[in-house]
């Protein structure tokens, strides 16, 4: 039986097509993926992301512990700041990509919905004395407000000022007698906020955001558009671009691995991989003809399979087939022409640098 978020009835009443994802019944789309995608790029969208996981780590050893199980340097995290990081295996494979918040009492980890139980068990099994790990997911709702109009909408709904909060920073503040956490983060490439709160507050804030957001063009957005929005901005998705068979170096995310901070799980393997060079790399590509690359399609060059597509779609903004995939490093050069095998046809595509769309 799939779980429901506190907003389940709201989604159904808004006409959402619901889908099961990571054990939750979540809205896939309310109107259409393309229309919702465009609203987030042009105005502002509201997401229910309560399926995501939140894990709290506290205690005298919390910082040392987290520095040992993650790749980025937790010591560099200042109060009120957020860090993107990885949990990795001994071989450097990605267990999950996560956010770490330095909160007054310790650290607040935001993890992928599909991985939260795995991550929690991993953390519990490695926690030393002096570090306590608590899964807050069952108590926590998460809403995201994303788009060029996210700032005024969030400020009006919460009745606070957020213009001074830099990207990847957060504040805690009271709302309707509870404490909520407002974080300038997101998974769309647009300006926006992610707001964590106790479950029972979520319907109040959801309704408030939709009401004050009306003149700003706000619409509820489903998981379908969440995926196309992140892909256009070349953001990796766990399970597609990142798995335990891929390291942060394969994925081109070595800047989130700090080799100088001291020992951490996977360090040795990653150092070795770094000095030897990775055998395959994650690339972004754009199809030169009509067609849509999909997860699992072969990437070909001169008749040889050189890799595989990890994510693909038709960009709702550029109307072109776009995708990410791993290819043998020798073929990963920007500007190279590769072929995507789509139903036995070879479709030429160009490897490009950076995002698939540029936002203002």
């Amino acid at each position: 039986m799939a779980a429901k978020t506190p907003l389940y009835e709201h989604h159904v009443n808004l006409g959402a097509k619901m889908t099961e994802y990571a054990g939750f019944l979540m809205p896939l789309q309310y109107t259409s993926i393309v229309a919702e995608h465009q609203i987030v790029r042009s105005d502002v969208g509201l997401f229910d992301l309560t399926h995501m996981g939140e894990i709290f780590v506290t205690g005298t050893q919390a910082e040392q512990f987290l520095n040992y199980v993650t790749t980025n340097n937790v010591a560099k995290l200042t109060p009120g700041a957020i860090q993107y990081s990885f949990l990795t295996t001994e071989t450097g494979g990605v267990i999950d990509d996560i956010l770490i918040y330095r909160v007054p009492e310790g650290f607040y980890l935001v993890v992928n919905a599909a991985n939260k139980e795995k991550d929690y068990q991993w953390l519990l099994s490695h926690a030393p004395e002096g570090a306590t790990v608590t899964d807050l997911s069952p108590l926590t709702a998460l809403l995201a407000v994303q788009g060029p109009n996210a700032l005024p909408v969030t400020e009006k709904a919460v009745e606070a000022k957020f213009a001074e909060i830099p990207y990847y920073h957060f504040v805690d503040l009271p709302y309707r007698g509870e404490r909520i956490r407002v974080s300038r983060t997101g998974y769309t490439g647009e300006d926006g906020f992610e707001i964590y709160m106790p479950l029972h507050i979520a319907p109040l804030l959801w309704e408030q955001l939709l009401a004050v957001g009306k003149p700003y063009g706000i619409q509820p957005i489903g998981l379908g558009a969440r995926d196309t929005l992140r892909l256009e901005m070349r953001m990796p998705l766990y399970g597609n671009e990142l798995t335990e068979n891929d390291t942060p170096l394969h994925a081109g995310l070595g800047r989130f691995v700090d080799f100088d901070k001291g020992d951490f799980i996977g360090r040795e393997a990653l150092i070795e991989q770094k000095s030897a060079g990775v055998d395959r790399k994650l690339v972004g590509f754009v199809l030169k003809e009509k067609g849509i690359p999909r997860h699992g399609y072969n990437i070909i060059r001169e008749g040889e399979i050189i890799g595989r597509v990890t994510s693909g779609t038709m960009s709702p903004i550029t109307q072109k087939g776009i995708g990410l995939g791993y290819v043998d490093s020798v073929h990963a050069k920007i500007g190279s022409i590769i072929e995507i095998e789509i139903r036995r046809q070879m479709m030429p595509a160009e490897i490009i640098k950076g995002r698939f769309v540029t936002n203002k």
Partner: protein, 127 residues
């Protein structure tokens, strides 16, 4: 979802309209396009290609996924809706009219196993 009266339907959610004694027009139902979501690409088949009942004759792609379209009849393709090349969204907007996909000709059209609109309406309620 509209189930257009007067058409015949397959279990794979294609509709069939009798154009003449030997020619039928084929598209996908309103229910099918709704399930697929925004259709952004269709790989149109060639005129004169043979299609076989129950076999895929084209692929429609929504933002989410690529899906086969199965022919509800056997025969030869005599017309293709070229408008879909540039406007595949017609399948979403007008599944029974502007969004038709192909016309198939056969001297021995086998339609008796297809569902009537009433039967199809009950069928989609059950799935």
């Amino acid at each position: 979802m509209e189930v257009r009266k007067g058409l015949l339907y397959s279990k794979d959610h294609e509709w069939v309209q009798e154009v003449s004694e030997s020619v039928v027009r084929v598209g996908i139902s309103a229910y099918a396009q709704d399930q697929l979501g925004d259709i952004v690409y269709i790989e149109l088949p060639e005129i004169d290609a043979e299609v076989a009942k129950g076999e895929s004759f084209t692929v429609v792609e929504s933002v989410k996924a690529a899906s086969d379209v199965f022919s509800p009849v056997s025969g030869k393709i005599v017309a293709v809706n070229e408008k879909l090349e540039d406007s595949p969204e017609l399948i979403n907007e007008s599944p029974y009219d502007e969004g038709w996909i192909i016309e198939v000709k056969s001297d021995e059209l086998e339609l008796s196993d297809l569902m009537t609109a009433e039967e199809y309406a009950r069928y989609i309620e059950e799935v």
